[in-house]
Symmetry: C3
Amino acid sequence: MTKRHIVLQTDFGISDGAVSAMYGVAISVDPSLRIFDLTHDIPQYDIWEASYRLYQTISYWPEETVFVSVVDPGVGTDRRSIVVKTAENQYIVTPDNGTLTHIQSEIGIVAARVIDESVNRLPKSGESYTFHGRDVYAYTAARLAAGIITFEEIGAEVSLDSVIQLAKMEPVVNEGGVTGNIDILDIRFGNLWTNIDRSLFKQLDANHGDSFEVTIQNDVRQVYKNIMTYGRSFADSRRGEPLLFVNSLDKLGVAINQGSFAQAYHIETGYKWKISIRKLLENSYTQ
Amino acid sequence: MTKRHIVLQTDFGISDGAVSAMYGVAISVDPSLRIFDLTHDIPQYDIWEASYRLYQTISYWPEETVFVSVVDPGVGTDRRSIVVKTAENQYIVTPDNGTLTHIQSEIGIVAARVIDESVNRLPKSGESYTFHGRDVYAYTAARLAAGIITFEEIGAEVSLDSVIQLAKMEPVVNEGGVTGNIDILDIRFGNLWTNIDRSLFKQLDANHGDSFEVTIQNDVRQVYKNIMTYGRSFADSRRGEPLLFVNSLDKLGVAINQGSFAQAYHIETGYKWKISIRKLLENSYTQ
Amino acid sequence: MTKRHIVLQTDFGISDGAVSAMYGVAISVDPSLRIFDLTHDIPQYDIWEASYRLYQTISYWPEETVFVSVVDPGVGTDRRSIVVKTAENQYIVTPDNGTLTHIQSEIGIVAARVIDESVNRLPKSGESYTFHGRDVYAYTAARLAAGIITFEEIGAEVSLDSVIQLAKMEPVVNEGGVTGNIDILDIRFGNLWTNIDRSLFKQLDANHGDSFEVTIQNDVRQVYKNIMTYGRSFADSRRGEPLLFVNSLDKLGVAINQGSFAQAYHIETGYKWKISIRKLLENSYTQ
């Protein structure tokens, strides 16, 4: 069997030896394994962001790739450790805590197994019970990737219904507008990424160059309200101007050309952060 | 010979081209070499932390792995550059400045050689004398890992006694308690890692669920004093509660569940930072 | 053909999935490709720093290496995407926006081709028009590195004269001194790196131990003026003392031993930041 690749995601950061120890465990299982990073900068305990980053990235990796995601506020509780197989024939090793929310709804999961730690646990990991990422997840992923164990040998099958899902809003079209959530930030550039698909947005009869009224609320508090243009790209706006655009996941985004929208208006993410976009009628703001 | 893996640690950060140049030099020595990172975020010139991170990680990598650690405040002085072989049959290439403190005491060094820079130095590195990490350490590690030179060809053997050690306290048990140092932080999560082994702590007749009085001092100044529980895992405490736990190195740690203990109480690390842990007698705090 | 290595540089950071998606696309093109990082911490839109980091690093990688640099403030405009072949037989895939400034002047470019996106674009990248780094640059680099396309199959040849260059000052020797620019920082350590070559500096009859008057100006405003020694290495100065030294690129640098010169005096980089260095006559400051 060709070796599968491993891709790691954690909230451990890369400033100490934690991630390197995970690499070492995997390399010790099979020195020829190839290991890559998704990111290790998931904000601590932020399961939603872990779920989103998996979804954002996974389709660009080959079939059979084994992903490991360790964002695990419930480590030490009886939360399950599972491995799932996706509809696109990839594997994800993770605590069962909602990390698979976007994968389940956007890509699909076809099978799930709970990790049997009596066999799938680094042998020399004795009494130390705090580092599941190294001793269980990296170890199990490496053995699966190397073909030492099959998916079936992970442990007992569990029902797909039982895999934990975080609450997730669906965007809605209403009275000439669309309302959704701010799902996540394009961190480095400060752009907002919404959960509004391009296809939904198109129902507003949106064309490049059209103007829209964009309202952002944090729960019931209005945080931003202004007019902006739907641009084909950032280049369609002047430096410092806000714009609507379709992002690399085919969803609607909000940006300031060469600035940080999130920082400028203190925008955060999650289901309390709502965005409404309403198309302006011709001349509605000019009289 | 199978190629050995290389694992790099520095205080260079990854924001400029320094680490990438080290990779390039190693890959140029042998394009098939596999190179990994321990971390490049060691605080500048912090030899103690470099020593600790090596110790924290090294056992999880295969035998024969060649580690490079470049935290080198004395670059340009006559500090030696050495390569050591550990008791677990791994190699470490480093300035001889205390970086091997924990390796020597916790794992053991069986042989040490000084790098003969007249042969073990990147040929085209001429007058530039500031980048030993690239021109000497990465280059020598790559040639050793690729089997181009043997350990003996590094240079003259040096006595193990002469390898520089940082001062290091040993924890002590006294009058119903144990006193040690705060060695290092679990940076991202803000947990304290002490130098108190689980086995030593157990001498206090410590069982999960027991309460302990924890006192932290910076030199003679008391910084923290409170009661906390010894938990099997973070899940045994409520969110925001402090707890004692055994960390992934089998040593005693102090944490706030889902918070940062270090940040909350401005705790730092080093031999001036002492921690005392005293078991509470039954009912000693209830009357 | 032996596979070429790929080295990636961006201003994307590594906190979300963007870089990982680029890796995934390349690995999907050819699972055996080896991919490395230069840095992903180029300040957003800072083409000058992207250009400098390429120059700083490229010579330490083997011939035939394929570099990708994506710092692209003009994404979505009609700026060209190009691949160049350097005089040292390496490739660089990049938007044509000045990223090749230092490569062109310091190393040389022997051929340039514009990427024909009608063939060199990730097939499944449909309407998403914002992620050229993933869909065009990583994809094209991977196909070139894997030997799936030749350099000629990138697209039409373009004249070397047409490759965009940023304005770049040349240092000058005058009245017993030399004046140049502060090109870049050694970020982590806060050292200044100038564009003054060691050979030019030597025209001042500079020897280790000599004293120099160093003046730094931001445009017309004087920011720093003081005497410092030209040291063989940091070890030649006391902790906290400033010094002149020759850096790893054989250019003059300014540092504070174990401190950050840039932070201490709020020094930044670019063509407005000028540095003048004048040799002190014997006893000129002692009377």
